[in-house]
Subunit: 338 residues, 2 copies
C-alpha cells in the first residue's frame, strides 16, 4: 500500500425527539473510543448527529426548533461548542482522530445544515461544509404529527460555501507524506452529480457524507402510496447504494457514508447502509445493523490513480464548452411540442 | 398506462474486421423485422453499427480507414445513404419503426462518431448526435495488431452538437398525444454525468445509447494487468450497469442501451448488457446472449413524473450558482499541499 489510511463510518442508531444531547454525546464518544482501539485515523459521523432529525417534524414552537441547532459566537469559535458538544471534540483530539460530523448550525444570521471536518492533531476545523441540495419543501405535506415530513427548505438556508475541497494535513504522515484531498457532502447532496464532480475537479480522494434517509415515506416520494415497508426499505437502500457507488466510480474517489439509522420515536424508520466505497465503485465494508456501529476499512489512496489517470481523466476527456446548460438558471426547459 | 410505448434494444453480436457491410445490414434488417412482429415502435441499435468497432485497430492504411465511415453529400442528404445503408432506413420506414443507429460519419470536413434518430413515419432524421466524450488516446498503446487499442481521439473529432434533446413527433399518437422527449448518447458518454444532466434539464424521457465496450483490455484500463477474463468481464458489466442505472434514476428518465457484443475477430471480446432501464434505476429487460438479440419492453413515459416532480425536481433543488467549476476549462485543480 502506497498511501494507507484506516477509516471508519460511525453509524448512529435511533435518536428520538426526547433523547437528550448528553445521551447522544455519550454514544458518540463511545464510538470514538471504539475507533481508537482499532487505530482508526478518520471517523465520519452522520448528518445532524447531536439531535434527532428534526426536519421531519412540522415544529410550530420556536423554542423547541431553536433547541436543535448549535450556536457559533465570537467566544465559542468556529466549531459548535455549546450544549455539551465541547467534550466530544475534546475527546477526538485526545485520541488523535480526525472527525467529520454534521449538525444544525445557527450563525445568528442564518441556519444551515452543516458538517465540520476537525483535525485530530490540532483540534482545528480544517473545513466547514453547508448542505447545498436541501430536499423537500418549506410547507408540510401533512399536519399529522405522526407523519414524516421533509422540511429542510423551511429550517435551513441552502449552503453558501460551494464545494471546496481541502487537504487533511493531519493525515499527511500516515498517508506517505502526501495529505489526502477531502470533500464533504451531506445526505441528499450524494444524489446530485454536480457536487461530486466539483470535488472530482479538485482531485478529491476521500468524500465524507453523513445522512438521514427515511426508510418509509411514500407521501414524500410520490408513486405507489401503498408500498409495503419492506419494499420501501429495499428501494431506499438500492437508491442510496446506487448513487454512492456510481459517483465514487465516475469521480475515482473513496467515499465514506455514515447513517443515522434505526426507528426514531418508534415510528420514523431510517435506513442504515453506512459504507466505505472504493474508487471503482465497490463496497469495501458496510454496516450490518441499524444500531450504533463502527464500519472500518483500511484503504489505499493510491487506488484513486487508475480512474483519475485513465477512464475518468477529467482534464483529458471532459468537454466543458458543451456543458453550458449545467450552470443556467431557470430549471427544466423542454423542447416545444411538435 | 398513460403514455405507453413499446421499445427495443437491438443488440448486435460479433462483427469482424472482414465482415462485409452487406452481411451486417442483412442482420440489422432481420432485427428490424423481428421488432415489427412484436409491434415495437422504437429500436435502438449500437454504436458504429455498420462495421466492426475499428478504433480498436491502429490502422495505417488510409484507404482501409476511410472504408469504415459513411459519407454525407448534397446528393445523399443528411442521413448516411452510401454503401448499401439505404436499404436499412428504407425498411425501417416501411415497417413504421423509429430507429437510433450509430456510424462513423465523414462530412468532408471532419470525422465524427455519430448516431441519428430517424422517424419511422416520414424517414426524416429527427436528430443527429455526435459523441462528445471520446475515450482513449490519439496514439496507440501497443503496435501489436492483436492488441485492443482505443483510438477514438485519433479517428474522430469530439462532437460539436452538444446535447440537444428533441421531440419524437413520430411517436406522438402512440404516447397519448404528447411526443416523447428524447436524448442521445454514445458509449463512453454514458459514464459522464454532464451529458445526462444536460438532457435532464430538457425534460428528456427516453435516453438512447449504443455502445462498444471491451470486455478485456487491462492495457487500456490500468490497474491489475493480470486480471482474469472472467473478472474483467464482470467488472465491465458492473460498471456499465452502475452508471446507466444511476444516471437514469438521478435524471428520472428511461434509458435504452444497445450493445455491439460478441467476440470480434475471435480475439476482441465486447460486453453485452443491452438493457431497458426505468426512471427509478431498475432494469426492466436485458439481453441474455452475446449474439444478435432483441430486448423488448413496454414502458409508460408517465413513470418519469415521480422523480421529475419530487426527489429530482431539477428546477426546485439544483443550485446552479454553486456549479461554476463544472464549466471551467483547465482540468483538475487540486488544493495546494499543506
Amino acid at each position: 500500500m502506497g498511501r494507507p489510511l484506516k477509516v471508519a463510518a460511525a453509524q448512529v442508531g435511533a435518536v428520538h425527539r426526547t433523547t437528550s444531547r448528553a445521551e447522544v454525546l455519550d454514544r458518540l464518544v463511545k464510538l470514538l473510543e471504539d475507533a481508537s482501539t482499532h487505530d482508526v485515523k478518520l471517523v465520519v459521523f452522520p448528518e445532524t448527529t447531536f439531535t434527532t432529525f428534526f426536519p421531519r417534524y412540522y415544529i410550530t414552537d420556536d423554542e423547541e426548533l431553536a433547541s436543535y441547532y448549535e450556536y457559533e459566537t465570537a467566544e465559542t469559535g468556529p466549531v459548535t461548542q455549546t450544549k455539551n458538544v465541547k467534550a466530544f471534540f475534546h475527546r477526538a483530539k485526545e485520541l488523535g482522530i480526525d472527525v467529520q460530523i454534521g449538525y444544525g448550525e445557527d450563525t445568528g444570521n442564518g441556519r444551515y445544515n452543516t458538517a465540520v471536518y476537525v483535525s485530530g492533531k490540532t483540534g482545528d476545523v480544517l473545513n466547514k461544509y453547508r448542505k447545498v441540495h436541501l430536499p423537500g419543501s418549506t410547507e408540510p405535506f401533512d399536519l399529522d404529527p405522526n407523519t414524516t415530513n421533509q422540511l429542510e427548505k423551511r429550517y435551513f438556508l441552502p449552503g453558501n460555501y460551494g464545494f471546496q475541497a481541502f487537504r487533511a494535513s493531519s493525515l499527511k504522515e500516515t498517508c506517505g507524506g502526501s495529505s489526502p484531498i477531502v470533500g464533504q457532502l451531506i445526505c441528499n447532496d450524494r444524489r446530485w452529480a454536480e457536487g461530486w464532480r466539483c470535488y472530482g475537479l479538485q482531485g478529491v480522494e476521500i468524500l465524507c457524507c453523513g445522512y438521514n434517509t427515511t426508510a418509509y415515506a411514500p407521501q414524500l416520494w410520490g408513486g405507489d402510496q401503498n408500498i409495503s415497508t419492506e419494499k420501501a426499505y429495499e428501494e431506499a437502500m438500492f437508491h442510496h447504494k446506487l448513487v454512492v457507488q456510481a459517483h465514487a466510480y465516475t469521480n475515482s474517489m473513496f467515499c465514506i457514508t455514515s447513517a443515522r439509522a434505526g426507528n426514531d420515536d418508534d415510528r420514523h424508520p431510517l435506513i442504515p447502509g453506512s459504507m466505505i466505497v472504493d474508487p471503482e465503485g465497490h463496497i469495501v465494508a458496510e454496516s450490518k445493523t441499524r444500531e450504533d456501529e463502527l464500519v472500518i476499512a483500511t484503504i489505499d489512496l493510491d487506488d484513486c490513480k487508475q480512474g483519475k489517470e485513465r477512464t475518468f481523466n477529467l482534464g483529458k476527456h471532459r468537454r466543458p464548452e458543451m456543458y453550458g446548460r449545467l450552470v443556467e438558471e431557470g430549471g427544466v426547459k423542454p423542447p416545444p411540442e411538435v
